[in-house]
Symmetry: D2
Subunit: 329 residues, 4 copies
């Protein structure tokens, strides 16, 4: 028996883990990619709870950085970066429900060097930015093209990094806002959380009928915080399975994997993202795992795990987690 059988998705989702139709959301099926996540775009696909979707994601540069001479400042036009597949409608998802997204697999696609990492002017954690507005000169603009396969990320002659893919941007639509795909918030968005890879289930709050799922921004690997502003961005074939959990109303995204559950917050300053994540985790432990609120608070002070997604996006993202073994009754 897989841990999935006891996951929230498979025990509380409409499909109860039953397998169903597989849909192919390739580049052609997608057609127009989206750069803002909201209720105003036309659905590209409608699926049933339990369905599998094979998605061809583009890299965050929309495929425009192909050599180390393709400088972002030349080839990109803001805000048209981080293209998203979707919106995918899930039948039966209504405001107040939650959509579960299980990532089955992520494979690289396209010719090598598929991977791209850039230092983009006035972007990144150790640079002045549009928000931390300074008078200093920008850092140098740099592009690295990197070979990526399912064995590794070939960073340099000296270093090969493990292939540890994850989805950087995963969202349900906000109710009335439409939010650019660079920003994470209560709807999910550009969280850049390395835990959101194959073998994880992300739970997203539904705020419009059908949920309007968006997905994109595959990373072949990423360090905690995505310090320079970009991961090893690459085009992927990502296979997900989706379900709907009726009546589970979330304020913020959550995540589950074999070992732990994780609540996710996105805000500035970084301590506020961390506060959100821990508070949501405590309320979750209280509501569903039989913990007294203050006991949960004090116990997490001894065993809570913090995952830093990004501290470079317009909001920063943090996950706060607890090992499932401590949740057993």
């Amino acid at each position: 028996m897989s841990w999935l059988d006891t996951s929230i998705m498979n025990t509380r989702g409409v499909a109860r883990g039953a397998s169903a139709t597989t849909h192919d959301l390739n580049e052609a099926a997608q057609g127009t990619f989206h750069f803002t996540i909201g209720p105003y775009s036309a659905p590209v696909l409608t699926v049933q709870p339990g369905d599998r979707i094979v998605v061809e994601t583009r890299d965050a540069f929309n495929g425009k950085v192909n050599t180390e001479q393709d400088l972002p400042s030349k080839v990109l036009t803001m805000p048209f970066v981080n293209p998203q597949n979707g919106p995918i409608m899930i039948e039966g998802a209504m405001p107040g429900d939650t959509i579960a997204v299980y990532i089955e697999s992520m494979a690289p696609r396209g010719p090598n060097p598929r991977g791209t990492c850039c230092m983009i002017p006035d972007f990144g954690a150790l640079s002045g930015t549009a928000f931390t507005a300074l008078l200093a000169e920008s850092l140098p603009e740099k592009v690295r093209k990197i070979d990526v396969d399912e064995e590794g990320v070939y960073w340099s002659k000296r270093v090969t990094l493990p292939y540890r893919p994850h989805i950087g941007t995963l969202s349900c639509s906000p109710e009335i806002d439409s939010i650019n795909s660079l920003t994470p918030d209560q709807h999910g968005g550009n969280m850049d959380l390395p835990d959101m890879g194959p073998g994880s289930i992300t739970y997203l709050p539904v705020r419009t009928e059908g949920g309007r799922l968006f997905i994109g921004d595959a990373h072949a690997c990423q360090g905690d915080g995505e310090v320079c502003g970009t991961a090893v961005e690459y085009p992927s074939t990502t296979t997900i399975r989706v379900d709907v959990i009726k009546g589970w109303k979330l304020e913020w995204p959550r995540l589950e994997n074999e070992e732990m559950i994780l609540a996710i917050g996105s805000a500035r300053p970084l301590e506020d993202a961390t506060r959100i994540a821990y508070k949501e985790l405590i309320l979750w432990m209280e509501a569903e795992f039989g913990y007294d609120k203050w006991d949960a608070y004090m116990m997490l002070s001894q065993c809570g795990k913090v995952r830093l997604g990004n501290f470079v996006d317009p909001k920063y993202t943090v996950g706060a987690g607890i090992l499932k073994k401590y949740l057993a009754p």
Copy 2:
């Protein structure tokens, strides 16, 4: 000669200060109010540069808090607060231009007590909030209804405050995003800056054709920072005159009045809002007033003025200004 004759609006705007048509954007003409500011809503009015518009704004509670027993948690549904008039299209405004909005006058409308101030649960600077997420009990929910006329704001038997009205929320549309009317950002939005009252000109960057001007959120008076989260919110008849400055490309809103110019930034944490405002002011002094960048930086360290708009909204707003007399050649 009025100072307006030498303002940026009247010297560089298309209309050059010439008077023109007056439009009446009353409640009936507005019809549906808006709670998100973006490119997806239908225009309510199209005007020429130089035109005057008389706008009937609703209060931030959409008129639903009429007695001190109308608790926000009962009568309001998020995110349907802070209703906005518009979008108003200004002929000839194109991306890369700037719209100038001169506020001629603001008069209260509707029966007294017209003014409303609330303490809303989990909102306000001295409370835990959705972002500064804490485990503390919410502060008590409270409503104050206040008589307002053009002579004063009758806060209590002990205190009458001066009537110093301003517009809390003033925006051009973002290019692809649609942003709820509670949030300030590069498009303007919910800045809550007390300087934005009669006698001020606000400059807003145009990012979509026609600019798509939104206006709302009149305050009969407001302290620096709007510390409890709300001002004396009231329905107003606000008269504005608009113009277009071709080819003046701004990153953030700016403001001008008889005495000073002000650059405006919105961000969290608050120092980042202040950094944006000062940086924009320095670049403005360099680009248009013959200042060396470093001289401007050092001189503002001696004479810069900081205005705190709000430190309660999803982003905080700060203006950084300099007296016009120091800009004379």
Copy 3:
């Protein structure tokens, strides 16, 4: 009758405004200046409540920047900057009391150009710093020497700024810590608040016997926030009068002038400094001016005044104030 007669200092201080001895704390009397504020240094002077002290302060660069070629990185050695006069013991001041410091006058001393403003590498609000640690190149290092007299600050051919002096650093000793003179905190310290000039009374919490008053860091003028990191720093002859308010226990410094009372907070991020200031002001209004806490909170949201001291020091400083006329019973 002067407003001083009704000030907290003169109505509640031990001396009740009575005139007393004048002490001369000139350079020779001071001998060794101090760069850290705490309980471990030897007192330089003991005075009675009500006494006047004429203090020769040095500039923040300890007099080492005498020409525009004296670069701080060459002539200064950290942490030996911002020299302080003191500690001055005030007879009868005990932990739990408050020391009042009325600034009577501030006169420039020494030969012109007496004033100094510098851009110091990796310091200032629009630069990466030791705390906002970035990889960008430092801003250029620059020194401006400026003529200063009691008529004006002669910034440039184009601009003469008014002479509006204030004391940047004013402190009682912490109980057990010793804090460098660049940092503001609960003991006062390097607040850089332009309101702290002649005609103001600063109230400082006493945490050790005698209070151990330190003073220094005169500024001939300063903009809100001290954005480049330095004001027009100059050597001064500053005349203060001190008193002790028995049993008035403060957590943070406070200030009073003819028009307003002000609570002062120092913290990072900047919103926390502002929160402290407003909270202290509300508690003050509740404890001493007959205000209900929630009424004070909501009313300050309509009429509170925020003063930004610095947003460049290791902690940022904000004052929150209310006009005295709103405090009348």
Copy 4:
């Protein structure tokens, strides 16, 4: 061969890993414990590089919380918490050098329940605090007494946590300041970093002759961030070995263990602590491991590890690390 043989401590320290004298710094030898870390206290011990010291640390409550009825607000007097052993002088340590502290072992001492975890009013990440000053009611005050042995931390009937001890507070003296033991900063201090346990080497910058090493604040286990404000605080017998690395001048503490190196930053807001840590790590990789600065920056964006120490102390602490295998030439 142990990894220690190739550590910076054992390859570059004066003692080169040679064993030497063992000193016993028990309660009696310590006598007076310290609550502020600076150059003004009398040394308790002088040792040679390479020496071993067996330290009896007290818990952060100075042993005053012995039952769940001993409320901190009753039994503690601020700022007399978090007692520190030391200062220990290391022969030959001079400003500009670095002290290495290898933690060999940590054993609990005293009778069970030895462990203490408290919710202290106006302290902790999900509470208003002295700095994040709010008007909300304090969270309830709570004390948990917990049995601790080298097999486990017996949190509740439901949960036993692993015994993963670490030292919360480890410091060399600042040059002229004396900093309370609750605050982390460039001198080390109250970092609360769970990696600082047995098997780790911490490197601390020497700023006064002899270094003046302080140590205390043992934690039997701690979650990332120490969210409620306290860990499982307990009295320990901690055995350390110290050495001096001549001429290795650090700005901030660093850490090494078998797998990784870690740079440590402490600041508010939390992103600034993270920036410091990553910047220091990049400069370290550039200076000592043959990395180009920009290559290090971009590579850490793919493989950097972030450890959150605390986000409850007056400054927050973050470590940024890289696996040693990526540093091999």
